[in-house]
Each structure stands twice: as structure tokens, then as C-alpha cells.
């Protein structure tokens, strides 16, 4: 049952992957997507609604949905669940106060059966900020997802720098690597 539908899904999606980026407001979703796409990130407004980016990578076409995380629009997240292959949950590692809210929102999301079969990645963003929680500390906070059989990775090294001088480590490879191995 569950497994069959997952296999079917992988077959259907050999070339095209739908990736949903969600997380609390201010976590950096839009910045990440624009950076990956090599676009200018100097002026980004909080997202009212969503953006869609299609990124070609090798034989894949990544369809990235970046959905706004403000409280008012979180209830619309589920409009985007259908046929999602990969869920990227973006965490602002420096926002210690809202870490619990952040985890609770993810928990809510994972109860959605429409997301079953998708792979999950928790993205510990803003690692460059002094005093930000380390990916391992955030992982501890989310500990029960480690036992979860979704593919969960805490990617420790990606930084989305504010200036263009720093380089970001080939995140496209990372997307493929983590999304390509749905258990």
C-alpha cells in the first residue's frame, strides 16, 4: 500500500521534482531559493503568497515552491501538498525564542497524509549569525524525527550569505542527493 504508491511516485517523477519550501516567516526561504537560482537577493519583501522557480539540474527539473510563512497564510500551505516530492523545512537557527513554535508547525505538517511519501529535509539556516544554534542542537530539538523513516538530514554547511563575496556550497547537489533517495 504505502510502499507501492511511493514506488509509483518515483517512477512518475523521474525527471520532474516538486519541492515545497516552508517554515516560519523570516526563516530565509525566499533568500535560499533566489540564491540557488543565482538571482539578486538584495531586496526581498516578506512573501505574500508564494513564488515558483523551476531550476534545471542535470536530467531533473526542480519545481520549487516557496510559500510565505507569516501566520496568516500558514493555513494555505496545504494547498501545495498535492504531489510534493520533497519538503524542505527551513529553520532560522538564530530565532531561539520561536524554536518551539517552529517545531510545532512542522509536527502539524507531518500529520498531513497528502505529504506521505515525500522526503523531508530540515534546513538549519542562518548559520553565519554568531550565536545561532548549531545544526546538531536543532537536531536535538527535533529529535524524534531522526527515528522517522522519512529521509531527514540536517545539512550543516550551507550558508546563504548576505553579501555576494561568500560562496555557497553547491546546494543543487544537495537537493538531488537527499531527494533522490526516498526510502
Amino acid at each position: 500500500m504505502g510502499l507501492l504508491s511511493i514506488i509509483r511516485k518515483i517512477k512518475r517523477k523521474e525527471k520532474e521534482m516538486r519541492i515545497l519550501m516552508v517554515g516560519l516567516d523570516n526563516s530565509g526561504k525566499t533568500t535560499i531559493v533566489l540564491k540557488i537560482n543565482g538571482e539578486d537577493t538584495s531586496v526581498i519583501s516578506p512573501t505574500l503568497g508564494f513564488n515558483i522557480k523551476t531550476i534545471k539540474y542535470q536530467k531533473y527539473s526542480l519545481n520549487i515552491w516557496d510559500v510565505g510563512g507569516q501566520k496568516t497564510i500558514r493555513s494555505y500551505w496545504r494547498n501545495y501538498f498535492e504531489q510534493t516530492d520533497g519538503l524542505v523545512w527551513v529553520v532560522d537557527s538564530s530565532d531561539v525564542r520561536r524554536l518551539d513554535d517552529c517545531r510545532m508547525e512542522l509536527e502539524k505538517l507531518l500529520k498531513e497524509e497528502r505529504l506521505s511519501g515525500a522526503s523531508l529535509l530540515v534546513f538549519a539556516n542562518k548559520q553565519d549569525i554568531q550565536g545561532a544554534l548549531k545544526p546538531s542542537e536543532i537536531a536535538k530539538k527535533y529529535k524524534y524525527y531522526r527515528k522517522y523513516s522519512f529521509h531527514d538530514i540536517f545539512y550543516p554547511r550551507i550558508k546563504v550569505p548576505l553579501s555576494h563575496s561568500q560562496h555557497i556550497i553547491s546546494p543543487r547537489d544537495w537537493y538531488i542527493a537527499s531527494l533522490g533517495t526516498i526510502p
Binding site: S45, G49, D95, S116, I129, Y145
Partner: protein
């Protein structure tokens, strides 16, 4: 053109989605049609909306007749399914819709949901149901169960891992608090202001990010923030801030003097007013420039209210009339100061 190619790709994608979607559904007429234009989408949208409203009205009529009461629950479930379809329709067509139409469609949907929720709670008081996709009960993820089980085990020890606080001013009353950031050190870090009552705060120099939480009757003057500012739960305050992004949640009766590169946003706020940034201390010009905030963009006046997604002006915010503006605040002489440090 690159853009045209992308749109084309998306629309192909969309078409193939609709086909898959239609194939998955046994009753093919329930599948969403493809739209060539915004106009035809909006027509279809408003037709569906009207018919959902009519269905809801019919449910209310049903409820007054005891004989048909047993039918009520399935009827309401149908309404719920129709709303979910409409929801999906908007999501699927969103790439070609102007953002205003998307916003207003989403708003209309949320109103339908509210109407349905209240019908549910009034007419079917005992059992509340949610918008679950019941087609795939069998498909239900084993993983969800796993999570629940593990959660039970973890419940007792799920207390927050002792997380440290970031640098900041916290829990102060009637104090003047001053912090000077030197570029070499804290310029890379974040700073928090929380649980302050009747305080005056000066932050000089550059910071990466600023978090503000639970302030009452405070006056805050800050140099440039290179990333974003997040403000939650403030009453009767004055803020003078410069940043790339500013998000304001649950603010009441508070004035904001801002310089922002993007559009400031408010949510769950009322009685908030906006004016341009007027802060001075020695070296601020350079700090502003180094933070990418050297130029006035005029965005301090382009406020988006997430609780008011309409074209007409939100009742929750306004501009501060010029004659009420506080003058330029000079913080040059403020020395570092914090009661218990």
C-alpha cells in the same frame, strides 16, 4: 525569452498535472478544467464560490427539517470537499494569476471555510470534522503512527533542550539601556530586546538581526540592521529602525520611524503608524552605507497588512502626520549602559 520558456514549461507541467489529476479521480467531471486566461479562471472561480454558498444555505435549510437531518453531515462533507477542490484549483493556477487575484481568491476561500466551520459547529454540534482527504484512508502513512508513538515516549522529556539566550536586553523596567556594537565583534551577531517596560534603548553600530518581543511603553533607537527585524507583541512604543526587512506582529498603538529596503509588513496589529527614519550618532552615515541602507527607498510608507489583503487602505495602520514627527534623535552622547552588566 527565458521567461516565456519558463511559463511555457509551467503550463505544460500544469496540463500534465491536470491530466494526472483527472485520471486519479473516478468521476472525471469533477476534475478541474484548464484555463487559458485570468478572466475565465475568475469566472469559474466565482461560479464555484456561488454554488458552494448556495449549498451551504441549503444545508442550513435542511437542518430546520428533522426528517432530513441525517443527510446533513454528508452534505456538509460535500461542501468541504468542494472548498478543498477550489483551494487546489487556486494553487494549481496560481502561476499565471496576478498576485492580487491570488490573494483575493485565497481570502474568499478562507471566508468559505469560516462559513462552513460555523455551519458545522451550529448544525452538527457534537462531531467536528476537518478537511481531511478521505480518499486515501488506506494509504494512510505508517510513518504518522510512528511519530505518534515516539512522541508518547518522548512526551515526558520533551522539555526544551536548555537553549541559550542570544545577546540582548531582557526583563528591565524604567531603565536607559545603551549598547555600542563594534563592527569587528558583534557586527556579525544578532540582538534581542524582550520583556522591557518603560525603557529607553539605544543600539549604536551595525547588527545582523534584531528580535523584539513583549515591550510596553518603550522608546527604541537603533542603528542599521543588515538582515531582518522581527517584532512581536509591543504596546505604546516608539521605534526608530533601519533594516533590510521588518516584520511587525501584534503591535498596538505604536509609532515606527523606518528605513527599509523591502516592504515592511504588519500582522495582527492595530493603531500603528509610520514615518521616515531620523536617527543620528557619530558615524551613522558610514554604518548605514556599509549595511546597504545608505539610500532612502521610501518603503517606510509601503506597508503590507497581512490581515488586510485588499486593495483599499488597511484600517490598522496609517502615516504619522508630519507635524507630529519627533525631530532627529541625536544619540551621539549615549554611553554603553545596562543596569546589571
Amino acid at each position: 525569452m527565458k521567461h516565456a520558456a519558463m511559463l511555457e514549461r509551467l503550463s505544460n507541467l500544469h496540463r500534465s498535472r491536470l491530466q494526472q489529476y483527472a485520471a486519479r479521480r473516478s468521476d472525471s467531471d469533477a476534475a478541474s478544467p484548464a484555463f487559458e486566461s485570468v478572466r475565465s479562471f475568475l469566472d469559474h472561480f466565482s461560479d464555484s464560490k456561488r454554488s458552494i454558498e448556495a449549498e451551504l444555505a441549503r444545508c442550513r435549510a435542511l437542518a430546520s427539517d428533522p426528517a432530513s437531518a441525517p443527510n446533513l453531515k454528508p452534505e456538509l462533507e460535500n461542501v468541504s470537499a468542494s472548498i478543498a477542490d477550489l483551494d487546489r484549483l487556486v494553487a494549481e493556477n496560481s502561476y499565471f494569476l496576478p498576485s492580487y487575484d491570488v490573494r483575493s481568491s485565497l481570502k474568499a476561500i478562507s471566508e468559505l471555510k469560516e462559513a462552513l466551520d460555523s455551519a458545522n459547529s451550529e448544525l452538527v454540534p457534537r462531531k467536528k470534522f476537518s478537511f481531511k482527504n478521505k480518499a486515501s484512508k488506506k494509504d494512510q502513512c505508517i510513518l504518522v503512527k510512528q511519530i505518534e508513538e515516539i512522541k508518547v515516549v518522548d512526551a515526558e522529556k520533551s522539555n526544551p533542550v536548555g537553549v541559550r539566550d542570544s545577546p540582548g536586553f531582557r526583563n528591565k523596567e524604567n531603565a536607559v539601556l545603551v549598547k555600542c556594537f563594534r563592527v569587528s565583534e558583534e557586527g556579525e551577531g544578532d540582538f534581542s530586546l524582550s520583556d522591557l517596560n518603560s525603557c529607553e534603548v539605544y543600539l549604536k553600530g551595525r547588527i545582523r538581526a534584531l528580535f523584539v518581543h513583549r515591550l510596553r511603553n518603550c522608546r527604541i533607537f537603533a542603528g542599521p540592521v543588515q538582515g531582518s527585524i522581527l517584532i512581536e507583541d509591543v504596546n505604546d512604543c516608539l521605534f526608530m529602525l533601519a533594516s533590510h526587512q521588518i516584520r511587525i506582529h501584534q503591535a498596538r498603538a505604536t509609532d515606527f520611524y523606518l528605513r527599509v529596503r523591502s516592504r515592511p509588513i504588519i500582522e495582527d496589529s492595530s493603531g500603528v503608524r509610520f514615518a521616515p527614519y531620523r536617527l543620528f550618532y557619530k558615524g551613522i552615515d558610514e554604518d548605514m552605507k556599509d549595511s546597504g541602507l545608505g539610500e532612502e527607498t521610501g518603503n517606510w510608507a509601503n506597508v503590507d497588512d497581512f490581515k488586510w489583503l485588499r486593495a483599499v487602505q488597511s484600517p490598522n495602520w496609517c502615516l504619522i502626520p508630519e507635524e507630529e514627527h519627533v525631530g532627529t534623535t541625536n544619540a551621539s552622547d549615549r554611553e554603553e549602559q545596562c543596569d546589571d552588566e
